[in-house]
C-alpha cells in the first residue's frame, strides 16, 4: 500500500473515490446536499435513520440525475450536518456519479458546544486558526468518520453566515475556511450573510485568490436588487446562482428573474464566473425541506435560460467548464494526501445508465 500519493501539479478534483481528472467531471451541480441531518437529530427517538432507506432514496435521485446527463454533484453541507462519506462512496460506485464532499462548519447556530463553549476559562469560541486547522486536515489527511478513521479528501471547504449579518464566530469560520483554501488549494464556497461583497472581502483578507472563491446565495432578492452578483464577478470571484427552483416566499427571486440574471451576467462579459445550482437536499432528517430534486435544474431551468437567450455553449460553460475550473485543485498550492490509498476503488465498475 502506498503511504503517500503526491499529486502536485496534476489537474484533478478530489471526489469521495479519490482524485478525478478535471475534464472528466461533465455536468456539475456545485451546491447541493445529499444527506442532511439537523445536528443532534440522530439522537432523537422520533427520527428514523434507516440507512438502507436513505441509500435507496439518494440512489434513485442520483440515477435520474445521471440519466439526464448529470455527471458530478457537490455535497456542500460541510462536516457537521449529516455528511456520511462512506455512504457517498458507495453511492458514487453504484450510480457512476462523481461525488465531491466538503469540509467546513456554519452558520453559528448549527455549531456545537465543542466549538462555541470550550472547556476552558473563559469559554471563548474557536478562532479562525483553530477552524482552519480542523478543515485543512480534512483535505490533507481525509474526511473524519468520527472516532473511527479518516476517509478520502474533502474537495472544497464551505461555510454559511447568518442572513441578518455575519456574526463574530462566523467571521472566524470564513477566515478559517479561506486559510484552508489557501493552504490546500481547494476552493472555498460560502453562503453570504447580509453583505455579499463585504463577506467576500473577509475571505480575500486571508490572501486567498479571487478565483478560488465561490459566493453563494446571490439569487436572494436583496442580492439581486443590489446587483451583488455583478460586483462579485467583477472582483474576480465565482458567483453562485444556487437556488434554482426557489422563489420569493423563501427570499429568492423566481426562476424567470433568475434566468434573466444569468443572461445579463453573460451580456456583461462575466459568464466565466457564473455557476448555477439548486441547493436541493436528497434526504433530510430532523428538519423540513423543499420539494426539489437534482433533476429540476436540468429539465426545467436550462430550457428557461435558453429562452432568455443563453446559448448552448454558454450553458456548457455554466455547467461544465466553470465548475471544473473552480473545483480543480490549485496546482501551485503545496498539497499532498497522506495515509490513504485509492487504488482499490478501481476494482469497482460504476453502473452506467
Amino acid at each position: 500500500m502506498q503511504d503517500n500519493v503526491q499529486e502536485k501539479g496534476s489537474s484533478v478534483v478530489r471526489t469521495v473515490l479519490g482524485p478525478v481528472p478535471a475534464q472528466d467531471l461533465g455536468v456539475v451541480l456545485i451546491h447541493e446536499t445529499l444527506l442532511s441531518v439537523f445536528p443532534g437529530a440522530e439522537y432523537a427517538p422520533e427520527i428514523n435513520m434507516d440507512k438502507s432507506e436513505i441509500f435507496e432514496l439518494l440512489k434513485r435521485q442520483l440515477t435520474e440525475f445521471r440519466r439526464l446527463g448529470g455527471k458530478t454533484i457537490v455535497d456542500a453541507s460541510g462536516m457537521f450536518h449529516g455528511r456520511d462519506v462512506e455512504l457517498y462512496r458507495t453511492l458514487s460506485r453504484t450510480t457512476g456519479v462523481h461525488i465531491i464532499a466538503s469540509t467546513g462548519l456554519g452558520p453559528e447556530p448549527m455549531l456545537s458546544g465543542y466549538f462555541t463553549t470550550p472547556q476552558k476559562n473563559p469559554p471563548s469560541p474557536w478562532s479562525a486558526e483553530q477552524f482552519s486547522g480542523l478543515f485543512t486536515k480534512e483535505v490533507i489527511e481525509g474526511i473524519v468518520i468520527p472516532r473511527v478513521e479518516r476517509s478520502s479528501s474533502a474537495g472544497l471547504v464551505t461555510s454559511i453566515a447568518t442572513r441578518s449579518g455575519i456574526t463574530k464566530v462566523e467571521t472566524g469560520l470564513f477566515r478559517g475556511s479561506a486559510q484552508t483554501a489557501l493552504a490546500t488549494g481547494v476552493p472555498v464556497s460560502i453562503q453570504y450573510g447580509a453583505d455579499a461583497t463585504g463577506d467576500l472581502e473577509i475571505l480575500l483578507g486571508e490572501g486567498v485568490a479571487e478565483n478560488r472563491i465561490i459566493i453563494g446565495g446571490l439569487d436572494r432578492i436583496d442580492a439581486v436588487r443590489r446587483k451583488e452578483a455583478f460586483a462579485v464577478a467583477k472582483r474576480g470571484a465565482y458567483v453562485a446562482i444556487d437556488h434554482v427552483g426557489w422563489s420569493s416566499s423563501e427570499g429568492f427571486v423566481n426562476d424567470g428573474e433568475r434566468a434573466k440574471l444569468v443572461a445579463e451576467l453573460f451580456a456583461d462579459g462575466l459568464g466565466e464566473r457564473v455557476l448555477i445550482s439548486s441547493n436541493a437536499i436528497g434526504v433530510a432528517k430532523g428538519h423540513e425541506t423543499k420539494e426539489l430534486g437534482y433533476d429540476y435544474l436540468l429539465t426545467k431551468f436550462v430550457p428557461m435560460i435558453q429562452d432568455a437567450g443563453v446559448t448552448r455553449e454558454q450553458i456548457r460553460l455554466l455547467l461544465e467548464e466553470n465548475p471544473a475550473r473552480v473545483l480543480t485543485i490549485d496546482a501551485s498550492a503545496d498539497q499532498k494526501v497522506t495515509g490513504w490509498n485509492f487504488d482499490w476503488d478501481k476494482l469497482y465498475q460504476p453502473v452506467i445508465y
Binding site: F38, G40, A44, M110, S112, Y114, T117, P118, Q119, L134
Partner: protein
C-alpha cells in the same frame, strides 16, 4: 419495593451498595468527535476504563452513576458491556449536561417535547435499546446563570421526574434560586434533586449550600479530586484541603444526611485531556482518608456512599404534574 434503572435493567434498591453518584465513563462536548486530537485506540480506552471500574469494585464500589447527557458521549451499549464485564452497576441518565452542550436539534424544542423525550428514555429506553435512564441530568450553562434553554430543560426535567419518579442530578448549583423556583412551580419536592458541584472552585457559596439543605435538597460535593495542586488541573479545581474543610463545615452544621460525595471523574475522557490520574477511586484512596484524619467515623461513610444514594436513586411513585398534557398521559 424499591427499584433503580441500570443499563442492564432495573435492580432492587438494596442491591445498589456503595454508589458514586456523579461520574463519567467518558465525557466530551458534542463535536469533539470531529477532532482527531482526542481519538484514542478503542482497545486502550476499554482497558483503562476496565481498570478503573475494577479497582472501584475492589474498593467495594457497586454502582456507578454516569452523568453524561445526550450527545456528550453517552454510549449505552458500551456501558452495558462494561457493566457485564466488571460487575459494577451502571446507571445512565437522560437529559443534558447544560443547554450549551445540547445539540442544535434539541435547542429548538419545547418544554413538552423535552419532557416527552426524558420520560421516554426513563420508561421505554435510550437510543433504540431497552436500557432505561435512572436519573435526569440538567445543568447551568457557562456564565453562571440559567439561560432560557437551561430553564426549559429544568422545567421539562421537573415534569419528567414527577411522571417517572426518577431523580434529577444537576451540573452546578450556581443560580440555585432560579432552579428552585422552577421546581417549586412544577410541584417537584426538592428531595428529588441532587444539586451538584457545590464544591466547584468557581462557584462557592455556603449560604446556598445551607439553603438547599434546609429546603430538603441534596448538596453534591461531587467534583472531589479536582485539586489545584495537581498539574494540569482544570479551571473548576480548588485546593484539596479547602474542599475537605468546606465539606466538614457542612456536616458539622448537621447536614450529613443532605450531603453527597462523588468525583465527577472520567474513566477515559472524550473531548478534553481529563485530569491525569483522576478517577472515581480518589474517593476511597484520598478523600475518605482525609476525612478519617479529621476524625470522621465509618458510619458517616456508609451514610454518604450507601444510604443517601439509595434514597435519591429509588424511583418514586409517579405523580401527575400540575401541567400534564394529554400527549404525556399516553406515554
Amino acid at each position: 419495593m424499591g427499584k433503580v434503572n441500570t443499563v442492564l435493567g432495573p435492580i432492587p434498591t438494596e442491591d445498589l451498595g456503595i454508589t458514586a453518584m456523579h461520574e463519567h465513563i467518558g465525557f466530551g462536548l458534542p463535536g469533539c468527535d470531529l477532532d482527531t486530537q482526542w481519538w484514542k485506540k478503542p482497545e486502550e480506552a476499554f482497558e483503562v476504563t476496565l481498570q478503573k471500574l475494577r479497582r472501584f469494585r475492589e474498593h467495594g464500589g457497586k454502582t456507578f452513576v454516569d452523568c453524561t447527557g445526550i450527545g456528550n458521549g453517552r454510549d449505552i451499549e458500551y456501558f452495558q458491556v462494561l457493566s457485564r464485564r466488571t460487575g459494577v452497576n451502571i446507571v445512565a441518565v437522560t437529559g443534558f449536561v447544560a443547554a450549551d452542550s445540547a445539540l442544535p436539534y434539541f435547542r429548538k424544542q419545547s418544554v413538552e417535547y423535552l419532557t416527552d423525550l426524558f420520560v421516554r428514555e426513563v420508561t421505554v429506553g435510550i437510543d433504540g435499546t431497552d436500557a432505561k435512564a435512572g436519573a435526569i441530568k440538567v445543568g447551568v450553562s457557562r456564565g453562571g446563570k440559567l439561560n432560557e434553554l437551561d430553564k426549559r430543560i429544568y422545567r421539562a426535567a421537573a415534569r419528567a421526574s414527577l411522571i417517572t419518579g426518577a431523580p434529577i442530578i444537576t451540573h452546578l448549583c450556581v443560580d440555585a434560586q432560579t432552579s428552585i423556583d422552577i421546581f417549586n412551580e412544577e410541584g417537584l419536592p426538592l428531595n428529588r434533586v441532587l444539586f451538584g458541584h457545590a464544591d466547584d472552585g468557581g462557584y462557592l457559596d455556603e449560604n446556598r449550600d445551607k439553603l438547599i439543605a434546609e429546603l430538603g435538597g441534596w448538596v453534591g460535593f461531587d467534583t472531589i479530586g479536582y485539586d489545584s495542586e495537581v498539574e494540569g488541573a482544570p479551571y473548576w479545581s480548588r485546593p484539596r484541603q479547602d474542599r475537605v474543610e468546606h465539606f466538614l463545615r457542612f456536616i458539622e452544621k448537621g447536614y450529613l444526611d443532605r450531603a453527597v460525595i462523588s468525583a465527577d471523574a472520567n474513566c477515559c475522557a472524550l473531548g478534553w485531556p481529563g485530569l491525569k490520574g483522576h478517577s472515581v477511586n480518589y474517593l476511597f484512596e484520598e478523600f475518605l482518608p482525609d476525612l478519617m484524619k479529621a476524625g470522621v467515623g465509618e458510619e458517616v461513610f456508609e451514610q454518604l456512599l450507601v444510604h443517601t444514594p439509595a434514597k435519591i436513586l429509588t424511583m418514586q411513585e409517579p405523580v401527575k404534574p400540575k401541567s400534564l398534557s394529554l400527549k404525556q398521559l399516553q406515554v
